[in-house]
Symmetry: C2
Subunit: 214 residues, 2 copies
DNA sequence: CACGAAGCGGAGCGCGCGCTCCGCTTCTGG
DNA sequence: CCAGAAGCGGAGCGCGCGCTCCGCTTCGTG
């Protein structure tokens, strides 16, 4: 995987090396400090000046896209693998667990998935994910293991909640989120179901809720 | 309730009126925009200058304390009332529900409860709350309704998670958080219990997790 | 090897934040 | 009623952020 994008002539050798160092530094910074890691910090870690960084990535958002492209693809892959499991409950559960491991490894991931609309790459990933999640849910309900009143639209809500736990505890007890997920999963089994006091979010509501930072 | 604090001579009449308007404006601003509402915005809403505001409240934190004192007391009261219920499960549940209603009504509350250490009033409220929560939990476990492996230290985690849902949805579907709480509560009933993959947080870990903003 | 295109560094801008400073205004007790 | 204590407004400071600009350096091709 030699250069940036396919368009435009290849970069000069030194420029390409700098670009790689910038992406690596950004990956590390975003993983450690979340998406709010400062551009200046990233440039310093990469050993380049601000000008260099901004010629390659005209806005911070481009940098974010470059860094998280792989991770987003990985989430999709995790969902696809989960669909291949014979036991639908195990698949559903493994999708959640593996997706949260990715969150725990990279503090910036939750910001990319939730924050501010028009993050093109993240939007694309969400679109690819949506039908996979629907099938994971419906399959587990058909097998009678997942409660019938659970909705695919509840999955993003699970992400909000567990990501919050990871945010609070990842440096203190990195696996603690598994406990909270345990409580929730116990509440999602068909046998545990009790009538719910509220309907799931509609797709439109979810879209609105996923891009808040007024 | 005439003046600011008992200490020092009473304020001049106009000054006291301004103080009241500042607190009211701050309450509205924090409720609507969270604790990050700007001081300038608060001064504008109150119709006073920055100088006026800062004479009365030498730092934003003092303003926060003044505004949230009542709400914190209310949470404690809610816990005490919940302890008076005969059915321990109903008490536990009603404590959570009423505390989350307060969160939903005031976007700033979660910031006050979680953010940055040494928020004196909030710390005091946490201390008063801790034994009440312990009794709520142990009582419900003794009655056999709450799963035995739930720990009082898991209650703050519930607050993190449901507060996150409220943050995302309060303007879109103000009661939606009740759905997520429903899933979780179903997982907390004794009958739903399945072995958990992680121990609860220790008190020290909770303290460290409750003051993050690096 | 020389020279133009490409790349580079980092000082500095604009913004919004919490907060300060100080010359002017208003209340109130004797 | 009037001095002076108390209160007041808002321009402006320092900070950290994302981002820009431009004079200098380096690459690599003819």
């Amino acid at each position: 995987m030699p250069a940036s994008t396919i368009t435009s002539r290849p970069l000069r050798r030194d420029a390409q090396a700098n670009r790689d160092r910038i992406v690596a530094a950004a990956r590390a910074a975003f993983a450690a400090n979340g998406i709010d890691a400062s551009v200046e910090d990233i440039a310093r870690r990469a050993g380049v000046g601000m000008g260099t960084l901004y010629r390659r990535f005209p806005a911070k958002e481009h940098l974010v896209d470059a860094v998280f492209e792989d991770t987003l693809a990985e989430i999709v892959a995790v969902a696809e693998e989960a669909l291949a499991a014979e036991d639908a409950w195990a698949g559903f559960r493994s999708f959640l667990e593996r997706a949260f491991v990715l969150h725990a490894e990279n503090r910036g991931l939750k910001d990319v998935l939730n924050r501010s609309p028009r993050r093109a790459k993240a939007e694309a990933a969400r679109m690819r994910l949506r039908p996979l999640i629907r099938r994971l849910v419906e399959r587990a309900q058909a097998q009678g293991s997942l409660r019938a009143d659970f909705s695919p639209a509840d999955v993003p809500v699970l992400f909000w909640t567990i990501a919050r736990v990871i945010e609070a505890t990842s440096e203190i007890a990195p696996d603690f989120w598994r406990r909270q997920l345990g409580f929730v999963l116990d509440g999602l089994r068909a046998g545990a179901a009790t009538p719910l006091p509220h309907a799931p979010l509609t797709t439109a509501q979810l879209d609105r809720a996923s891009g808040r930072r007024p």
